[in-house]
Amino acid sequence: MELKSILEVLLFTSQKPLSPTELRDVLNRAADEEGAEEHVKALRKTPPEDIVAALETLASEHDAAARSYRLVCVAGSWQFVTQPEYAPWLRSFLGVKARPSRLSAPALETLAIIAYRQPITRAEIEQIRGVAVDGVMGTLKERNLVVEAGRADVIGRPMQFATGPAFLEYFGLPNLDGLPAADELRRIPVQRPEALLTVDNHLATAPAEPTQQELPVDTVDPSVNAPEATVEVPPAEPPAPAS
């Protein structure tokens, strides 16, 4: 029994996209089942790279077969999807309603900032956008486009935000590196007016109105204050796929 066929049948019957890790877990669980046959046991601890390779082979096979569906990887998880040209029939079959209204310009801007600079605090977002973002953040979180991602390691320990499970799907992106011009746009040049003090080296931006409370005790680095200073945001870890 070929590995790829087993992966195929799992993806085929799954009710949600599956990551290589999840697929490997199933192989291990089946191998550990009491009375598992040899060929089932043999797939215990299949190397992740074998699983990924098998998935890629499978996807090419399905592409070559040119059927009405194909196997794709979205946000690191694999799933069968239908080809778009069948949308007219699927819409009337599934009674698909139009998606909730498209995002407003403010919501998109906020989302873009979060996408390229995650994880990021609300204060930082507001600093970049120049306006408060309470309303749009609510919308974005509600639609799972944005999720909370732990607290920043600065005074006050403000909540940070990252793109959520719906983000990559919403934009049809394979992963965060698939963001257009990710390399360039992660490094938006930030020139800091002299009056502003950075809170933290890793912050994308300086706070708008530095107050005494926000000043960290010891993290002010004078060099960051230079006019040409840019702050690179390391590519964020993709958020855990929705389960």
Binding site: F12, T13, Q15, K16, Y69, V72, V74, V81, T82, Q83, P84, E85, A87, L90, R91, L94, V96, A98, R99, S101, R102, L103, A105, P106, L108, E109, L111, A112, I113, A115, Y116, E126, I128, R129, G130, V131, A132, V133, D134, G135, V136, E169, Y170, F171, G172, L173, P174, G178, L179, P180, A181, E184, L185, I188, P189, Q191, P193, A208, E209, P227
Partner: protein
């Protein structure tokens, strides 16, 4: 004693027991020695009786039939009653028994095949996609937005940010959007398409990247360039816009390869479905700093 009980109980009825006895003879059912079978059958019944097992009426009836057959068989051939050809009511009991055995055997075999299917069905799982969204992502997923929306949003932010930063820096900036527009137009000469990423390949500074990007958006806004993403996860390409008749929008394309529905609400004449035009970038002079984006949910933050 319990061994006998088990032995008797496996038989579904007298026919089942008979079939078992036939099988023991290892001959074709039509060639079976009915005399011997009759003797063995009656022996079983006797054993059951000795063991005080309840004997179903059907077994008793069958035993009687077999004894009758046996008694006929034991007569010399010339004394055997020749069944009258014309008497249709008279069945040869041997033939009748064999006919029933053959028929019963066939159904027993059929039942075994049904049983095989029954257990096979335990191993067959139906394809049951959970929710429409999961199996039909394109029609629902891509209608609302495209990556261009996102890029455009970034551009807006960049532009606003540049305006907010030190004026002297902007003046010192060696790159201008109009220069880059010329550069991009030159770049496209003789090359109808090139990858988005190539635009930034020669940039020497972050500022140049940003200016190049703004120039591109401006060209797209002017409908001189278009951005194309031919497949869902494919690379974005920049292409010269097809020159449309004056005053018209691009004609809808039949080759709506990816089923994308354009970002903006569908006008009567929609642009080619595989070409998504970003919302035009805001012209710099339209961008009031204090109140950048009109949204009811937002309140200007004190800067």
């Amino acid at each position: 004693m319990s061994e006998y009980r088990v032995q008797f109980e496996v038989f579904e009825g007298p026919l089942d027991l008979l079939l078992h006895l036939v099988k023991k003879q290892e001959v074709d059912i039509y060639q079976v020695n009915l005399l011997r079978i009759a003797t063995e059958f009656v022996t079983y019944i006797e054993q059951m009786r000795e063991l005080d097992l309840e004997i179903a009426g059907e077994f008793v009836v069958m035993a009687a039939t077999l004894l009758y057959i046996k008694s006929r068989e034991l007569l010399p051939v010339d004394k055997q009653v020749a069944v009258a050809v014309e008497d249709e009511d008279t069945e040869d009991p041997r033939w009748e028994l064999i006919r029933r055995l053959v028929e019963y055997k066939k159904f027993k075999d059929a039942a075994a095949r049904l049983q095989e299917r029954e257990s096979l069905m335990d191993s067959i799982y139906e394809h049951r996609p959970a929710r429409p969204e999961l199996t039909a992502p394109e029609p629902v997923r891509r209608e609302a937005a495209s990556v261009f929306d996102l890029v455009n949003a970034v551009a807006t932010i960049l532009k606003r940010y540049n305006e907010r930063t030190d004026v002297r820096e902007i003046q010192a900036d060696p790159y201008t959007v109009s220069e880059k527009i010329d550069y991009l137009r030159q770049l496209s000469v003789g090359r109808p398409r090139f990858p988005f990423s190539e635009l930034f390949a020669s940039a020497r500074s972050r500022a140049e990247v940003v200016v190049t990007f703004l120039a591109l958006l401006e060209l797209i806004r002017m409908k001189l360039f278009i951005a194309v993403q031919t497949e869902q996860f494919g690379e974005i390409e920049v292409a010269l816009a097809p020159t449309p008749p004056p005053g018209s929008v691009p004609t809808p394309s039949e080759s709506a390869a990816d089923g994308t529905i354009p970002v903006d609400s569908l006008p009567p004449q929609s642009p080619p479905a595989d070409i998504v035009e970003p919302t035009p970038a805001r012209a710099p002079d339209q961008l009031p700093e204090a109140n950048p984006v009109g949204s009811d949910t937002e309140t200007p933050q004190t800067a």
